[in-house]
């Protein structure tokens, strides 16, 4: 990540951290970890010894007390090499500990944060259930009053870090339909059953397990609470998680781009290097612009780390944009490698497999896009030039459907996409103006040309949608996902 960007005042510390990460990564063997579906214990110990599990934990608990931007820089660097390790660390720093750091009662923080900072405990976060994935309003895990504390019952699935976790943050509801609350508990508590490791397409060396909770008793301090009037706690925790997931995607995109570029420079066909073929040269130039915009958006997102509503919006846009761009570049890198691209030793198949889930977890991209599209209808759209097309599309939708526009989920989804592109474009322009990172004026021009193409495609999709609606009968949705 543009190490000079998001964390003014932390620049040197972050540079030192990144040098340490670099040293550590020279020992990492991602293909072997993938084959063994495990991260070796000495590697996790080395990460702990380097203090990486404590980057964002306040200094008084033994952490480094750095910002989300610093954590993002580390996760990004690690994801360049091993996405499973990046996911393990990112989950710990984001979803796993953010709630406790921001809203934990002092007794709870004293009890757990020192161990979490030192990596003696790794944190996991359990919201998803068999019947509640994208729709977290449907959570069934119940927290019932039990003496002074709470009793938790329910089933959780797909818990990252669950197999080696030393602390769980669990989402549960107190009465049917009430907003989820977060509870912190130890996996060794009576009634917590950790299931078998899942076998996955990618991120195989990370841990993903189901967890069931049967009459798990926790004391009253275990419930994390955001102050009245603040953005809901779940939303705040997810914002941090999405920022770090976005950072990981930026790192993965950088690796795919580096491999594509190196191969295109070196491989010769038709009497010249592949990069000299117009189609390949253009593709790589586009990938460079898209990746520069992802890094710029990551930097902008981290600037809003302490402003929950702004972070919620930016982190959702970052998560969607970076996961899509990383996927496109990894796929493109394989294409540019030709047959060699599907050979495991290049690391590209692993990269692609690892990246697939990024468009699904921590809020499926379609869900986030619909949500962003709905937000675009109610929020003032910014003045900067990249937002012009979004403003136009918002006005069109409003005048065609008035308040009923909120029921046109297909259109909201496309509006969300325009918003994401606008956010990335604005971030890229800002990075160039402020001479931050490696973004150039050329990247801006290429990005703008690409964005125009995307907008035309979106407009055509909207027309096509009308046709489909004509065939299926007008479909209006309800329940814009939260």
């Amino acid at each position: 990540m543009p190490a000079d960007g998001a964390f003014d005042g932390e620049g040197e510390v972050v540079q030192a951290l990144l040098r340490m990460v670099d040293g550590l990564l020279s020992e990492v063997r991602p293909l072997r970890n993938d084959q063994h579906s495990n991260l070796p214990a000495p590697l996790l110990s080395a990460v702990a010894q380097a203090g990486l599990f404590g980057i964002t934990i306040p200094e008084r608990y033994g952490g480094s007390g750095l910002t989300l931007g610093a954590a993002a820089a580390c996760v990004r660097a690690i994801a360049e090499v091993d996405r499973s390790l990046a996911t393990t660390l990112g989950l710990h720093l984001g979803l796993g500990t953010r709630g406790l750091v921001l809203f934990g009662a002092p007794t709870l923080a004293d009890r757990y944060l020192p161990d979490l900072a030192e990596g003696r405990r790794i944190a996991a976060f359990a919201a998803t259930e068999p019947e509640a994935g994208s729709d977290l309003g449907a959570l069934r895990t119940r927290a019932e009053r039990w003496g002074d504390g709470w009793c938790l019952d329910g089933q959780k699935i797909y818990v990252t870090n669950g197999g080696w976790a030393g602390l769980l943050t669990v989402a549960a509801v107190e009465t049917t339909g009430s907003p989820p609350a977060l509870f912190v508990l130890e996996p060794s508590s009576p009634g917590v059953l950790i299931g078998r490791e899942e076998r996955k397409l990618g991120l195989r060396a990370s841990s993903t397990v189901p967890i069931s909770l049967e009459g798990v008793l926790v004391d009253s301090a275990a419930r994390l609470a955001a102050p009245v009037g603040a953005l809901p706690i779940l939303e705040q925790v997810l914002s941090a998680g999405r920022t770090l997931l976005g950072a990981g995607c930026c790192g993965a995109a950088a690796t795919a781009l580096r491999l594509a570029r190196a191969h295109a420079d070196q491989r010769r066909q038709f009497g010249r290097p592949l990069i000299g073929l117009e189609v390949v040269g253009r593709e790589i130039a586009l990938f460079e612009a898209l990746a520069a915009a992802a890094d710029a958006l990551l930097a902008v997102t981290c600037v809003f780390a302490e402003e929950p509503p702004a972070l919620a919006r930016r982190s959702a846009a970052l998560k969607v944009y970076s996961s899509e761009v990383a996927w496109a570049i990894a796929d493109g890198a394989i294409q540019i490698h030709g047959g060699l691209g599907v050979m495991e030793d290049t690391g590209l198949p692993l990269l692609l497999r690892d990246l697939r889930v990024a468009r699904i977890f921590e809020g499926a991209n379609d869900v986030l896009l619909t949500r962003l599209g709905a937000a675009a209808l109610t929020s003032p759209v910014e003045e900067a030039a990249p937002y012009a097309l979004l403003r136009g599309a918002v006005d069109e939708l409003k005048s065609a459907h008035g308040a009923r526009a909120f029921l046109r989920h297909g259109a909201l989804h496309r509006l969300g996409r325009l918003w994401v592109i606008a956010e990335a474009g604005a971030a890229l322009e800002r990075a160039v103006q402020e001479a931050r990172g490696s973004a150039t004026a050329g990247h801006v021009q290429i990005f703008q040309a690409w964005a125009r193409g995307q907008v035309l495609r979106t407009q055509e999709e909207l027309v096509a949608m009308e046709v489909v609606e004509g065939v299926l009968g007008t479909k209006v949705g309800r329940g814009v996902p939260s």
Binding site: A403, A405, R478, V480
Partner: protein
């Protein structure tokens, strides 16, 4: 055309669907955001569902000015020519 009684019923049902309150707990003076916990997107969505179910023409700007359950009812009745 809907009777005012049923308009109110539809409104309370929709509000209850989107918030965590039961229809009988909802009062006219309840504020959509502060009292019923609807965020700006879900309070707008509520008005769109209302417009759809009662076949009302409500502009987004009008909808955004509504703050309480009573104002939702008044706006709907105005649009239905009841007030």
């Amino acid at each position: 055309m809907q009777e005012p009684q049923s308009v109110q019923k539809v409104i309370l049902e929709i509000v209850a669907e989107l918030s965590t309150s039961r229809p009988q707990q909802i009062k006219d003076t309840d504020r959509l955001r502060e009292d019923l916990g609807l965020d700006s997107v879900s309070s707008m969505e509520m008005l769109s569902m209302l417009a759809e179910r009662l076949d009302l023409d409500v502009s987004l700007e009008e909808a955004m000015q509504v703050n309480t359950v009573g104002e939702v009812i008044a706006l709907s009745e105005r649009r239905l020519g009841k007030a």
